[in-house]
Symmetry: C2
Subunit: 442 residues, 2 copies
């Protein structure tokens, strides 16, 4: 660090971890640079609401510059990191620019993991980005449109069959939202088809949905889904995904495969770390990423023998109280972001170092359609309407900008009362001349 | 018409003309089929607000099925019309389906006209669809992001120079919105550049902006734009559009060309009719489309010797009181839609036919940024704050769904108070490996 120059903190990634770290460094003796490939902070847990047309992208995203504009010590760069110069302590961007750092926080998160079947990505989009969400929205709504025009009954049935792969919170929420869309929102919209007869099938590889929750809540979630008409297939492994069907093997993959004819599959079954993890590990040397590409970190979120390099959020493999890696959840990333900012500031002040990172589990929740949810918090499990209210309240609290909060609340209120989904637009269709198998819209 | 079967009305296009015709046929002895390539009705006059990040697409669009779901005699098909069978009285869709009609209303509107320079479309998008608007939004916001990272002063100046071609309401509104974005909304967001120094240049081929308005209002609009910092170049013809500059000739094209270095050009200078106009004219036979592709219609909006075929809205060339074709404005299309529905219903009831279509000009308006607008209505011209309030009120009234109205009002209220533009997301960027000159985002 040059004499007299402020301590440069470079944060890569403006998601939950990076954004909270940046905010925690406000009014500290640092110069913060936040780099992200996108210009906005995305509230990922609500992507499934964009995917089913309940919210617009702008309801769940806020421009990074807006959020940070009042932080005089912070600047935002939209750019893509392509390399690290560990000796020279700088980060390399795609256009050749070098951004020097004194401390580096890497928080680039996770992406979809297709367990070696990357070709499935064409037919089964995941739900990690805004474009994922509007793509799924287009596929789901177009399926109903095409079913209305179909003349072949087998084709029509196939079009109104929807498969969600993965029974974690994302999959559970998507399945519940699609069946609600079919059975309620679109109920009176069509003349040939009856959308309420749509099939929604949720496929999970473990023996229960919401495996990270308490058993009792897993059961309540399954009951709620089935009560709404979702077919829940547990202990089932998907073995093939084609444009017009999937194959899956029950009994943990030991029984013979069965086939589901469908043209709309949503992938919520696996994540792997951003490729920047491996890039960073190689640049540091002597660090091996884990199986999902996660970067192993020390108890204070630093990497190997580099006290100036931190990795947080979904990119990190950080041991929890029980020794197992902490889950890839938003509150983990948020707490790590604030923790790491505190570590840096204490060093600058010459104070004794902070203790190791301790995740405080304030609870997890998932929602299954209108006014149903499951939640556990500080050992209390609750479900049904109170859980749904808590879910609503906490999501709104988080949304970083006042306007987002009020608008989303407003839109939700309408959705709840009217069972409407007002952002039901089919956009970005390929024009007929350039159609590909990725966007089979007629 | 088969005995006992209801009168089949097929409407192609769910915009202002088609939608109002469909609504006017509610509870009439008809079977209505509305066909559109998209699944939503779009309020085009507010596209410029999506293009500058003030509103989300869903604020200005509503699903066609939602709007019409309570009309028991009406069904919606999402599909593309590719031909007409005039003898067999049916409409042909891309997937081979035939939709029979007794009366046909064609209302497919207009698209961009580049005056023989279709290659300009790559560098100068128009503003007619949702995708146009989010594309322009991406280009405008990305220009500021790239300027923040630019090292060459000439490149930086080029990046913060914006050109709008066309001084009609769309161009005027876009120019005002971009300068407002630059000078106010983004003011504190950047650390290297000062967005308030951005240049916005409006180029118009005639001697005044808003040529369809009264001269006094043209002058007020020009003054308002220049007061906000827009450079207005009248009597100027664009002769070249390249990725990094444009050329234009002043004095009506007689003086030598001058050059503006820019990477962001918005095209608001010309429209031509949808290609379905020519398809229809050829199918009927003996009908020639006009220079812009418009279909000439009789005083009752029928075409040639086909009393069962109506063309309305921007697709039609319909003579007004003074014998000149009516302008391509929303209220014209709306009134024609209702008129044509009335013609059909009176025929079915055996009543004497309606008189010719008479457009009632209730006034036109354009807004130039925060609380400034110009309007004329029933001979009264007004501008400034009262005009802006009227503009706000009328747009909100129109928005077809209650929720849209309230949400848009809410979002506008926030924008007005905070000078914020909350939907400022850069979406659908091409990933680095597949970048093309159409999307030069770094």
């Amino acid at each position: 660090m040059a004499d007299g120059a402020a301590h440069k903190v470079v944060i890569i990634g403006g998601g939950f971890g990076g954004m909270l770290a940046a905010k925690a460094l406000n009014k500290t003796p640092t110069e913060v640079t936040l780099i992200d490939r996108r210009n906005f902070h995305l509230f990922q847990p609500l992507l499934y609401q964009v995917a089913t047309g309940a919210l617009s992208p702008a309801n769940i995203a806020a421009p990074l510059r807006s959020i940070l504009k009042k932080q005089r010590n912070t600047r935002v760069l939209q750019g893509e990191v392509v390399g690290f110069d560990m000796a020279g302590k700088s980060v390399l961007l795609r256009d050749g620019a070098r951004v020097p750092f004194d401390s580096l926080i890497v928080a680039t998160g996770a992406t979809h993991h297709y367990f070696g079947h990357d070709e499935w990505a064409n037919h089964a989009p995941g739900l990690k980005t805004i474009e994922d969400a509007t793509d799924i929205r287009r596929r789901v709504l177009s399926a109903f449109e095409r079913a209305e025009r179909a003349t072949d009954p087998a084709e029509r049935a196939r079009l109104v069959t929807f498969v969600v792969v993965g029974g974690g919170p994302t999959g559970v929420e998507m399945a519940g939202a699609i069946i609600e869309l079919a059975k309620y929102t679109l109920r009176a919209d069509f003349r040939v088809i009856n959308p309420a007869t749509a099939r929604v099938i949720l496929i999970e590889g473990q023996t229960r949905v919401l495996g990270a929750f308490h058993e009792k809540l897993s059961r309540k979630a399954k009951d709620a889904l089935e009560g709404m008409g979702v077919e829940v297939k547990l202990d089932c492994h998907v073995t093939a995904i084609e444009p017009d069907h999937i194959l899956a093997k029950p009994d943990g993959g030991k029984a013979p495969a069965f086939r589901i004819d469908t043209e709309t599959v949503v992938w919520a079954a696996g994540v792997k770390a951003s490729p920047l993890g491996k890039l960073l590990a190689d640049a540091i040397g002597g660090v091996e990423v884990g199986r999902g590409g996660h970067v192993p970190v020390n108890p204070d979120c630093t990497v190997a023998n580099r006290p100036d390099v931190f990795v947080i959020g979904d990119l990190a493999s950080c041991p929890g109280k029980d020794g197992k890696p902490l889950p890839g959840l938003a509150p983990v990333a948020m707490q790590q972001g604030e923790y790491v900012a505190g570590v840096i500031v204490r060093r600058l002040k010459g104070e004794s170092p902070k203790g190791p990172f301790r995740y405080i589990d304030k609870g997890t929740m998932a929602t299954i359609g209108r006014a149903k949810a499951v939640a556990e918090s500080f050992g209390f499990k609750f479900s049904g309407y109170p859980a749904w209210l808590a879910w609503l309240f906490i999501h709104i609290l988080y949304l970083a900008r006042f306007e987002n909060r009020v608008l989303v609340l407003f839109q939700w209120f309408f959705n709840y009362v009217t069972r409407n989904r007002a952002a039901r637009l089919i956009t970005n269709e390929r024009p007929p001349e350039t159609r590909s198998e990725i966007a089979p819209v007629r």
